[in-house]
Amino acid sequence: MSSSARHFAEAPQLNADVRLSVEQVSYAYSANPTQAPLFTLEATSFQARPGELVAILGPNASGKSTLLKLVAGTLDPLSGRVLLNGFATHTLPPRTRGQRIAMVQQESPLLFPSRAWEFVLQGRHAHGRSLRFESADDVLIARNALAQVGAEHLSDRWMDQISGGEKQRVILARALAQQPLLLLLDEPTLHLDIGAQVDLLATLRRLAAANRYTVVVVTHDLNLAGQYADLVALFQKGKCLRVGTPAAVFHRELLEQVFQTSLTVELGSSGRPRVSLPSAP
């Protein structure tokens, strides 16, 4: 606790504009302390402002999820730090973390079913005392969150009786109910069809702008990242190869090297790159 108090005390606002600052963060995991690490994430840095959407891009097993956990503060970095408004995320007490950082990931199966509104209300847990009844404010915020993701009509439905896409929306609503500063999503488009994928990313952009979130999305979908992200961090085998706007990162040779397949990159009218597969011979 004393170390985190120290962190709280010495947190300088480096740049008043920057909300999320990832500074030379690295990580290593080995099953046995005496053995060489099985997996390493090399020093990575980037920054993001309120309202921005960051895409962490790369093929499978490139360290994306690990980076997300480091950003969330649920893993302690080997070196470097992740600052959220100046505070190191891994030193945040659980309650505070729940108020500032929301994570959307593949859900564990529910043990006992609950209704969607109950589920979303869970997002309010970090605000207020632990043992309490939800206040009118909490209810309002939860309802609002469901509205923002277009899932109001699902409010009274049981969680185990709605479709995958609908469940995804309710989970997102729960994250929104936390009223976080930072919204993290781990491969949210994995099981969605193309329409739902576009819908989700568009919603995220909209929410980021409207509610001033900083959104970090882990994905391996090139075009979604290219279309919707303000900042892209490209990873391969635990190493961050490049950070920048989509246009700056999506260079054909680089992408072909990372994704091990031939691609073509075109610049669209909006200035955003589009990646496509070469025509079949």
Partner: protein
């Protein structure tokens, strides 16, 4: 808003805790009145020390007795005090009249309500069969209880005499004790000089359970001119069949339980694999005695005599008869009856007068 909730819950919990506490103490307070829970206020008390080492105050005279062990019930009948017995356990079946008494349940967890409802002056328990929790519960309820503990046949006799004294029937006790001692002395004389037979007392055959040497049954065997091959200090040791075969007892001793003929139970045991390794099984050398041997009561002396007759018939035969051939199946000598449940035995036990 939230603070109020927590406060309310804490408040409710405190109230609940207090009420539970008050309930508990109020109940205790009501019930803990000074002694004299028995039916009529008694003028006199007798202070004795029971076999738990407790100093017990027993109201005198003792007119209502509850017995929590079959052996104690039998003893009461043997002392001729059965009219004072108002309740006994489900297992008190001897003499048959005992079955007509009000039942208070088993020996391990007798029904305390039923005992209280019978308004006993004294509750009799044994250290061996009954539980100390029962004794303590009776004490908490203000009921006087007296515990006996017997490990040898002499213990049984002296315990009977002491019990008679506690119940205000010393003369009957001494008389019964003397009669029992006399019979034992007579037996000892008959068996003097005759080497004891090596036996295995079979309590249960599957698994094979016998009796330890420190029990009253073990002692009874010695009095009957038998020497148990079991050396264990456990009360009910489980025996290894191989070991028993190695030791080759001369006789197997069974206590007849109700309903089964001992012949049948011996046969079923003899059929089992491995048992044919015993000489005693091949030669059908088995002795049966009444299940009186299982109870530390005066009737055990009859069981001892019964066993002695079967193991050493030559000591009881009239001098003119030839010694019985060792190889032939043992049968009781014709002149003396030794049925396990013969009526003659019963009448002998009832009467306290010298026979």
């Amino acid at each position: 808003m939230q603070a109020r909730f927590t406060f309310r819950i804490a408040h409710a919990a405190l109230i609940a805790a207090f009420s539970a506490g008050l309930c508990g103490s109020a109940i205790r307070g009501q019930a803990e009145t000074p002694d004299g829970h028995a039916a009529l206020p008694k003028a006199a008390y007798k202070e004795v020390v029971d076999d738990y080492g407790r100093a017990v105050r027993i109201p005198q005279p003792v007119q209502r007795i509850v017995s929590l062990a079959p052996s104690l019930t039998e003893t009461i009948y043997a002392l001729g005090l059965q009219d004072r017995l108002v309740g006994d356990t489900d297992y008190c079946d001897y003499p048959p009249d005992a079955q007509k008494k009000t039942k208070v349940g088993g020996t391990i967890n007798p029904n305390l309500e039923q005992i209280v409802a019978l308004r006993p002056d004294l509750v009799l328990v044994t250290k061996n069969l009954n539980h100390i929790e029962t004794v303590q519960a009776l004490e908490n309820l203000g009921l006087a209880s007296y515990a006996t503990d017997t490990h040898t046949v002499h213990d049984i006799i002296s315990s009977t005499e002491r019990l008679a004294d506690v119940l205000g029937a010393s003369e009957a006790g001494l008389s019964l004790g003397a009669s029992l001692e006399h019979r034992l002395a007579d037996l000892q004389q008959r068996l003097s000089g005759i080497p004891p037979r090596r036996v295995l007392f079979v309590v249960w055959s599957d698994p094979l359970i016998s009796v330890g040497k420190d029990t009253f049954i073990g002692d009874a065997l010695r009095w009957a001119g038998a020497s148990s091959i079991v050396e264990s200090s456990q009360d009910w040791p489980q025996m290894n069949l191989e070991e028993v075969v190695r030791l080759q007892p001369e006789f197997l001793v069974f206590a007849a339980s109700h309903g089964d003929s001992v012949e049948a139970s011996f046969d079923s045991v003899a059929e089992r694999p491995g048992w044919r390794g015993l000489e005693a099984v091949r030669q059908r050398h088995f002795a049966t005695i009444s299940d009186a041997v299982n109870r530390p009561a005066p009737r055990i002396v009859s069981a001892i005599e019964e066993l002695a007759r079967q193991l050493h018939p030559e000591a009881f035969a009239p001098p003119a008869e030839d010694p019985i051939d060792r190889k032939s199946p043992i049968s009781p000598a014709p002149s003396t009856p030794s049925q396990p449940h013969g009526d003659t035995n019963e009448s002998r036990e009832f009467c306290v007068c010298a026979h």
